[in-house]
Amino acid sequence: MNIKPYGDTLQDGKVQISFTLPIAADAIGLEAARQLAKKMGLIDPNVVHQEKLGDHFSFYIVYGSVGVSIDLNDIHVETFETPTMTREEIEQLIETELDRELVFVGASTGTDAHTVGIDAIMNMKGFAGHYGLERYKHIKAVNLGSQVANEEFVRQAKLLKADVLLVSQTVTQKDIHLKNLVDLVELLETEQMRKDVVLIAGGARITHELAKELGYDAGFGPKKYAEDVAAYAVLELIRRKKQMF
């Protein structure tokens, strides 16, 4: 099925765009904005607003219809719909399939000081009504907090015999998170630990695709909670256990 954006009528293709250009707010600016919108595939772009931002910049708001459409058959979301399981179901699963205590070690790494995200997943209280991992039976959840250097993180993981590593990254400006996340993978490989852990990244700007690309097993973004992470990790541990035999 081919779909297009929807303004008020099926297949009308309507989108809204805004951007700043590093030129003055004059007729040339307007035309440049229109042409840019055209290059972005808008048919008959309508520059509905031009605003002077000082002498050397100008801001534009554009509406128009895109010619392109998306074939839904081409969309292959890596089947990463974590099964919706309740805490009780997950606890049950650990009991019957793994029958041991699992160790989850988490931290906000590098210079990142944001703890609310990792706390949301790990701490007793959880977030938005979803209890955190600390409250799960058969899970030992160790939250190392924030600003944890990768080296320290790996050291603790080793010490605690972690099954699952949870890494949170919030600051993404100039792609600082990419460097940080990749460094951790390299460090784990150097320590020959990479295969022994389920390695999970998370944060407001983290997607599963990105995490996979960087060498993680999974990535979780906004609106994901402890049960999503736990379900994924436990199923993955079970899968790995079965593979071993």
């Binding site: 929807y6 303004g7 008020d8 009528t9 099926l10 309507k14 809204q16 309508n46 509905v48 607003h49 605003e51 708001i61 509406y63």
Partner: protein
């Protein structure tokens, strides 16, 4: 509790002036009828359908009456005579008439005969309206009514697309859905027929479209546990006909204001005052709430200087509505948040205006319009302006909250525009829930002072209009600075002086109901 403590004597004076103003016009109205009034009677008797040129039968019949006979006697008397002459019931007569096998009687029946002959169809029409009214009351009693109802528009031109969007909006939290009409419909001297899928800046108001949308909203009402109200426009050249159709199809609210038509659509003033009167009677009978169009004035004239004209017009509209038996609970007087935000203290002026309306018309379900004129293509700025408007709505306890759209200056709303607007309105309703009860307006503060000034000026204006008469006042351009001649504009050719034996059997029965 009154928050402004406006002078009750001044308010009373305003009402006295307004009543006198309306009184004079009503005397004029009582002596006249129009083609649209006559067509409405036919519609309520059950005449429906179009000929093969898409001309509605009600137009054909009234045109026949005009061409060969005198409309001032009333179409009903000719229809009654036709039934009598052809010995047919209404349905059969219409089939024959349409097939060219019967014509409208040359001479009218007497008034008594007319009432007797048409009784079954009058009864049937009125019964249908009563049933719809009861059904509405049932829904409302079941689900209750929000203190502030969220009102959004759909306007794709395609009724099917409108339905999708109306349902989605209702699920997102809208309480009221208005289907905006295609531009130009108000100038048509007939009502288009059937389901329509093409319109410009709106969707044609047709009885079939009404029915389709009503059904869709009933469906969604059950799902969301709120009765979703449906709105259209009884405005322009077919005011009473749309009211009749709305009564039959259970619309809940009608934009219904001749002043709007006169000023913004250049409809002839005689024509539209007469039309309005019957349309409001129908609305009163059907329990349909009206919305008046004062909000529009400030889109044309200066919102700071002309604020009092809005209030004056509300008083006049109230007087007209009373005369047509509309109770206060059906008078959705209009006003708007239209002052340029670049003007110092304009937000306070807005609050003053909105609070004043609330205090003066405590029982009226006021309709509060969002900023439109001072919205530009800057959708982010528009979002900010709408947030202030949403807060003003909560602060001043408005009843019908028409949501501002961030794309107001660009196009009729996209699906997403409506969602974002509903999100903003509902969030502000919540976050500022008891704001009204947590603050008082300070005596001598800008809000207080402004409200007093505007009320005072409205009183003076009403006094003047009473002296010159409303017709003259409109000729002089009191509202929105627009001048309209008594004999000018569209639709004057459809106005007729009533014969002494004129009868409007529907109006008679409705008037009886209110006695």
């Amino acid at each position: 509790m009154n928050k402004l403590n406006l002078d009750q004597k001044t308010i009373e004076s305003c009402r006295i002036h307004a009543n006198a103003i309306a009184e004079k016009i009503v005397r004029f109205i009582d002596n006249h009828t129009t083609v649209s009034v006559e067509r409405s009677i036919l519609r309520l008797l059950g005449v429906d359908g179009v000929d093969r040129y898409q001309v509605p039968l009600v137009n054909r019949l009234v045109d026949d009456c005009l061409q060969q006979r005198n409309c001032g006697e009333g179409i009903s008397r000719y229809l009654a005579a036709s039934l009598k002459n052809t010995q047919r019931n209404l349905a059969d007569f219409l089939v024959a008439y349409q097939a060219g096998k019967a014509t409208l009687a040359k001479d009218p029946a007497s008034v008594e005969e007319t009432l007797a002959i048409l009784k079954p169809w009058i009864d049937q029409g009125l019964k249908k309206i009563q049933e719809q009214k009861e059904l509405r009351n049932h829904w409302i009693n079941t689900y209750g009514t929000a203190k502030t109802q969220i009102y959004v528009i759909v306007a794709t031109g395609n009724i099917h697309e409108d339905v999708i969007q109306a349902q989605a909006a209702a699920r997102a939290g809208a309480d009221i859905i208005a289907v905006i009409r295609s531009t130009g419909q108000s100038l048509l001297d007939y009502v288009p027929y059937g389901i329509t899928t093409e319109g410009f800046g709106g969707t044609y108001a047709t009885q079939a479209n009404f029915r389709l949308m009503r059904q869709a909203l009933d469906e969604v009402s059950k799902d969301v546990g709120r009765y979703i109200r449906l709105v259209n426009y009884a405005s322009g050249l077919c005011m009473p006909e749309i009211a009749a159709m709305a009564a039959l199809e259970r619309l809940d609210i009608l934009l219904n204001d001749s002043l709007y038509g006169i000023i913004f659509r250049d409809i002839n003033m005689q024509r539209t005052f007469i039309d309005q009167n019957f349309s409001r009677l129908i609305n009163a009978y059907a329990g349909i709430l009206i919305n008046t169009g004062e909000d529009n004035y400030l889109t044309t004239s200066d919102a700071v200087e002309e604020a009092h004209t809005v209030l004056a017009s509300q008083f006049i509209n109230e007087a007209f509505a009373k005369k047509a038996h509309l109770s206060a609970s059906l008078m959705g007087l209009g006003h708007a948040f239209e002052i340029d935000p670049e003007i110092e203290n304009s937000f306070l002026f807005e609050i003053a205006q909105a609070e004043m309306a609330r205090e003066i018309f405590p029982d009226a379900p006021l309709k509060y319009m969002p900023p439109t004129k001072h919205i530009s293509g800057n959708i982010f700025r528009a979002t900010m302006q709408n947030a202030l408007f949403n807060l003003a709505t909560v602060m001043t306890d408005q009843s019908i909250h028409l949501l501002g759209m961030m794309t107001e200056a660009i196009h009729t709303p996209f699906l997403s525009d409506r969602f974002l607007a509903i999100d903003s309105a509902k969030t502000i309703q919540k976050t500022a829930k008891s704001f009204r009860e947590a603050i008082d307006y300070r005596e001598g503060g800008v809000i207080h002072t402004r409200a007093r000034e505007v009320l005072q000026k409205a009183k003076l204006l009403l006094g003047d209009v009473e002296k010159t008469g409303l017709f003259n006042a409109l000729e002089n351009g009191v509202f929105a600075g627009v001048k309209r001649p008594f004999q000018g504009g569209k639709g004057l050719e459809g106005v007729y002086v009533k014969d002494k034996d004129y009868v409007n059997p529907i109006a008679l029965r409705m008037e009886e109901f209110f006695r």
